[in-house]
């Protein structure tokens, strides 16, 4: 079909003709641009189910595509390609290949909760974004995102001691992701921090890097958390392999 608004269509799906004659009607000029006919044959019919098995994705089925999430989105204001409404649409239709086009940016959701705040259907789109990026990693479509490295480091510390120590988080995160700690802005920040610190506090903070802050009697909590996570991972594995007990 001929179209006016080319910006709405991806360039590779546009077909232009300098001169065109259809059934003896000359349609050269304004009416000679068409959308390429395509057929989608590789639906993943299990896609919505898969994504809803990841943390945060449980309510994706409630969406009725009003677009309030994308309208309110902090990241969309910076990058118009970041489009939660569209990704939820693709996931529910099972259009996996189409979804993969944006695989590099989905993890960038900043969890500002504007979408969840305005969603009239309680889809919790912020959670769906997290579920989508976990799903991308679990399926091997993307490597672990920086965000996932950060979450894992954070979780690991809580699992071990019940608390986190920020210095350790920063060091281990930079280590995990292979980034240098000696960046000019980081150095200046640490200098500003140290300049004002009273000696006793500095001493105390130094000590906490050696003796990590801990919640007492944490081991039972640790086991209980690990048990839950193991169970969840097993459930997810079954769903991803399509072996879900019906």
């Amino acid at each position: 079909m001929p179209i006016h608004e080319e910006s709405l269509i991806r360039p590779e799906n546009l077909r232009k003709h300098e001169e065109l004659n259809i059934d003896n009607v000359d349609v050269s000029g304004h009416w000679s641009t068409f959308i390429e006919t395509r057929s989608v044959a590789d639906y993943n019919e299990n896609l919505e189910r898969e994504i809803s098995a990841f943390p945060g994705g449980a309510y994706i089925h409630r969406c009725w595509q009003c677009g309030a999430c994308t309208n309110s989105c902090t990241v969309n204001a910076i990058n118009p390609d970041f489009n939660p409404r569209y990704w939820i649409y693709l996931a529910r239709l099972g259009m996996e290949q189409e979804l993969l086009r944006d695989k590099e940016i989905i993890w960038q959701c900043v969890s500002c909760h504007r979408c969840t705040h305005v969603c009239p259907r309680d889809v919790e789109p912020e959670g769906v974004m997290k579920a989508l990026s976990h799903w991308l990693e679990a399926k091997g479509h993307t490597p672990k995102s920086q965000s996932q490295h950060f979450d894992e480091e954070f979780y690991q510390q809580i699992l071990e001691t019940g608390k986190i120590e920020e210095g350790r988080i920063v060091r281990n995160f930079f280590n995990r992701t292979g980034q240098p700690l000696k960046q000019p802005w980081l150095i200046r920040m640490v200098k500003n921090l140290i300049r004002g610190l009273p000696i006793m506090l500095m001493f105390k903070m130094g000590l906490s890097t050696l003796f990590r802050p801990k919640t007492k009697d944490w081991s039972k909590s640790k086991h209980s958390i690990e048990e839950l996570i193991e169970m969840r991972e097993l459930e997810r594995k079954k769903i991803l392999e399509g072996n879900e007990a019906s």
Binding site: I78, F174, W185, N192, I229
Partner: protein, 313 residues
């Protein structure tokens, strides 16, 4: 003051400082305790508390995050006999509220958490066992503006302040059932508790449209460029509103603004003027507490020059 806004039971509350207040947010911790003492309010720290999971653990599993929150709330109620938990950190406050919401409305959450509580020998948390409030609710409802104004020793007059509340204090609305309830309650779209308190302390509050904009805190290290850009929006908007100071009420927002102000200078060459201070530090100054006791020297953002110039130090 009517009964709705002034509450006697807030004179003594369970205090949940959280991990950030023992690290980068130590000045917030210190100034919160100082003003409590000055105002005659009691903070009883939750015994053997654990991390709330911040914005990270929910991405590993939402129920683990709920477990982390309810463990603290259950200790406050069943081991300490407290009815109110006060959390000054937006992340902690948000997570406790979220857990309360899930325990109240989701059967599945209740079951999972009951099982975990039984296994760990913790008392089970039941909906409504405690009420979670933010440090802003606490000062606003335990002291109130009139009472606060009458205790001011050094008015903050001449100081132009933009109040920055961030995301987690108001969003998503369904976990804060007490907000948006008409006169006297907090607004999720235009929060004003910090405005009310600092205005009572004499400050000039500027109209600031980015009160609840996002600072990119969740990706402050994992996606630095985005965070720097979001923080720069906030800093430049405050500048346009002619604010000298951005008042904060969350350690993650506060350190995010400080960090990325420096990063914007170093990596983009964009310098911005506003300095960051915790609202508790500003209230403390007004109440006549010394800057050192409020930890103002410990902030990364250097504000002493400005405070001297305004005659507040």
């Amino acid at each position: 003051m009517n009964d709705r806004t002034m509450r006697d039971e807030l004179q003594t509350v369970a205090y949940y400082p959280g991990c950030a207040l023992e690290g980068t947010g130590h000045a917030y911790n210190r100034s919160t305790k100082r003003i409590a003492k000055k105002l005659g309010l009691n903070l009883v720290e939750i015994d053997n508390w654990n991390c709330c999971g911040a914005m990270e653990v929910k991405n590993i599993d939402p129920e683990v995050q709920n477990y982390l929150s309810v463990r603290n709330m259950a200790i406050a109620k069943h081991k300490m006999g407290m009815d109110v938990v006060m959390a000054p950190c937006n992340g902690c406050y948000h997570n406790l509220k979220k857990a309360e919401h899930d325990v109240t409305h989701k059967e599945e959450t209740r079951k999972t958490l009951k099982k975990m509580a039984d296994k760990t020998g913790q008392p089970e948390y039941k909906p409504g066992d405690v009420e979670t409030i933010h440090a802003l609710d606490w000062i606003k409802h335990a002291i109130g503006e009139e009472n606060l104004a009458s205790r001011v020793k050094h008015s903050l007059s001449g100081l132009k302040i933009a109040n920055y509340y961030g995301c987690m204090y108001t969003r998503p609305r369904h976990i804060f059932p007490e907000k948006d309830q008409g006169e006297g309650s907090e607004s999720t779209s235009k929060p004003h508790f910090m405005d009310d308190l600092l205005r009572a302390a004499g400050a000039e509050i500027v109209e600031f449209p980015l009160k609840t904009a996002c600072c990119g805190g969740a990706h402050t290290l994992s996606d630095c460029d985005t965070s720097t850009r979001l923080v720069l929006n906030i800093l430049q908007a405050a500048e346009v509103c002619s604010a000298d100071v951005i008042a904060t009420e969350c350690p993650t927002c506060h350190s995010g603004l400080e960090m990325h102000q420096i990063r914007a200078e170093e990596t983009l060459g964009v310098k911005t003027q506003p300095v960051m201070l915790y609202f508790t530090q500003l209230l403390g100054l007004a109440l006549g507490i010394s800057p050192r006791q409020l930890g103002i020297h410990e902030n990364i953002s250097q504000s002493l020059g400005l405070l001297r110039q305004k005659g507040l130090v």
